[in-house]
């Protein structure tokens, strides 16, 4: 990726994509003047191939495919340090949310699959049970990610300490929760929401 030449032209400046990000995040991508404070304070920058300020710069230059193909957006912890310290009020944490959503909708061209799998299972848990069922979350994650032995030693200890519940009650608002999911899907189908 580093060696790949970047071509910037009228065609590559996909302003529609930037507008979508701005609508979803409610913040301006164009306000960023690259001071780098976001990356300086980012606890996750060390795990990213493009630190936060570079993500915004790439976005400004219309190079969003590079961002979506990488793992940077999936390694953001949503700690909000960047948004807190930005001197020009760019809410970068919300931009990260918007980028993840657009990547998610495009069915994740990113190779970072573990974080996406965890998110998916978490949301499935809400739709199925109403509340998080941690035991199932961890077990299904291990099976689906092929890491059968991950945190295996922690399991028995957590169960004896009462921290992992074997059974889970369904929430009484399940109907209402399902309707929220369905109405959002409906709105998106009709083009009333991004």
């Amino acid at each position: 990726m580093k060696k790949k030449k970047m071509v910037i032209s009228q065609e590559t400046m996909d302003i529609d994509f930037v507008r979508k990000v701005e609508a979803l995040s409610g913040t301006s991508v164009r306000r960023c003047f690259q001071c780098g404070k976001c990356s300086a304070g980012c606890p996750m920058a060390t795990f990213m191939e493009h630190p936060p300020n570079r993500v915004v710069r790439l976005l400004q230059l219309g190079q969003w495919q590079r961002i979506l193909a990488g793992r940077s957006i999936w390694y953001c912890a949503s700690c909000e340090t960047c948004s807190t310290r930005c001197p020009n009020k760019v809410h970068l944490a919300s931009i990260m949310d918007a980028l993840r959503k657009l990547s998610w909708d495009a069915e994740g061209p990113s190779k970072e699959s573990y974080v996406q799998l965890a998110n998916k299972l978490f949301l499935q848990n809400i739709r199925t049970y109403g509340r998080q069922y941690e035991m199932r979350l961890a077990a299904v994650f291990n099976v689906k990610s092929g890491q059968f032995l991950k945190d295996l030693m922690l399991g028995p200890k957590l169960i004896t300490k009462g921290k992992l519940k074997m059974f889970h009650k369904k929430n009484r608002n399940m109907n209402e929760i399902e309707k929220i999911f369905a109405r959002i899907e409906e709105m998106r189908k009709k083009g009333e929401a991004l």
């Binding site: 409610g26 912890a77 949503s78 700690c79 998610w104 961890a138 992992l164 929430n171 959002i184 709105m187």
Partner: protein, 295 residues
């Protein structure tokens, strides 16, 4: 001592408090009862969506929170929230829907009801420090935590981002230190009080969490802390449950008990180890508490 019971709250525990953070729930209920603060659980509350929901679908996150805020209206009083992530999401929803009319309209369609944003959402810390007040809190102390050196760990979501939680100063909060000061504990000054623990990467990328939490524990130890205090079940899980693993990876020993804020304040209010669920902690806090004559 609180004489008149004027403090009554709706209570949103959040998913973790009904599972991996059961001791946070238990100690919250016992402490609030001892202080004469009423808590009524919001009937059939559900998951706020936490980080994963807003990570990939903000509209879903806002809608889940808006519906929970509506459920909370059934119970009288401000909404008391224990988990820093739930607290952050609920406040973020109120803030966003107040400012952005497009999103507000979308959320109203999703929940098929008008959103109500006037209810107050408060973290337990605010209730102890401001609603009950430090003076009344200090007056309720039966066993001052003297001699206990605590590193107050705020993590990310109690104070950030600007204008949203409005819990305290965004880069240099003191609310945890204020509460602990009122119950006689000593708090240490340290560098990593607001650094991220890696939160929900604990499931997907535990290696990330190990690296970040090691730095946090190292900083707390260097500052001379006996223990760490948190107000978030995810921070707690990462610092407490994973501590043995961190020690293994970095070939070091911390043996640093990690308490929920309600456990330490509860201890000062004279509650027993059982009432505070101290046995559920993975790093055993009993030797430290006995050494300091607090048990």
């Amino acid at each position: 001592m609180p004489t008149k019971n004027s403090l009554d709250y709706a209570y949103y525990p959040g998913c973790s408090l009904h599972a991996s953070a059961g001791e946070y729930d238990l100690s919250t209920r016992k402490l609030f009862k001892a202080l004469g603060i009423g808590l009524t659980e919001v009937p059939d509350w559900f998951c706020c969506g936490a980080t994963p929901a807003h990570n990939v679908d903000e509209l879903l996150s806002l809608s889940l929170c808006a519906k929970n805020l509506e459920l909370a209206e059934q119970v009288e009083g401000d909404l008391a929230v224990a988990c820093a992530a739930c607290f952050s999401r609920l406040k973020f929803t109120q803030h966003t829907l107040e400012e952005n009319s497009t999103k507000r309209k979308q959320v109203e369609t999703a929940i098929d009801a008008p959103v109500k944003l006037d209810g107050k959402v408060k973290h337990l810390l605010e209730i102890l420090a401001r609603d009950l007040g430090l003076e009344r809190l200090a007056a309720s102390v039966k066993k001052p935590l003297s001699g206990l050196k605590v590193a107050c760990y705020y993590g990310c979501l109690l104070t950030r981002p600007p204008d949203v939680p409005n819990l305290d100063c965004i880069e240099a909060p003191t609310i945890m230190e204020d509460v602990l000061g009122a119950v006689g504990a000593e708090t240490v000054a340290w560098s990593h009080r607001m650094e991220c623990c890696g939160a929900n990467f604990t499931l997907s990328r535990p290696g990330v969490v190990i690296q970040l939490t090691n730095a946090i524990l190292e900083s707390a130890k260097a500052a001379g802390a006996d223990c760490v205090m948190v107000g978030c079940p995810l921070c707690h899980g990462n610092l407490d449950i994973r501590q043995k693993e961190i020690e293994g990876v970095y070939k070091t020993t911390y043996n640093m008990p990690v308490f929920y804020l309600t456990q330490l304040v509860g201890l000062a209010a004279g509650l027993s180890a059982d009432q505070l669920g101290l046995d559920a902690l993975i790093v055993n806090p009993l030797p430290l508490l006995k050494e300091k004559h607090l048990l």
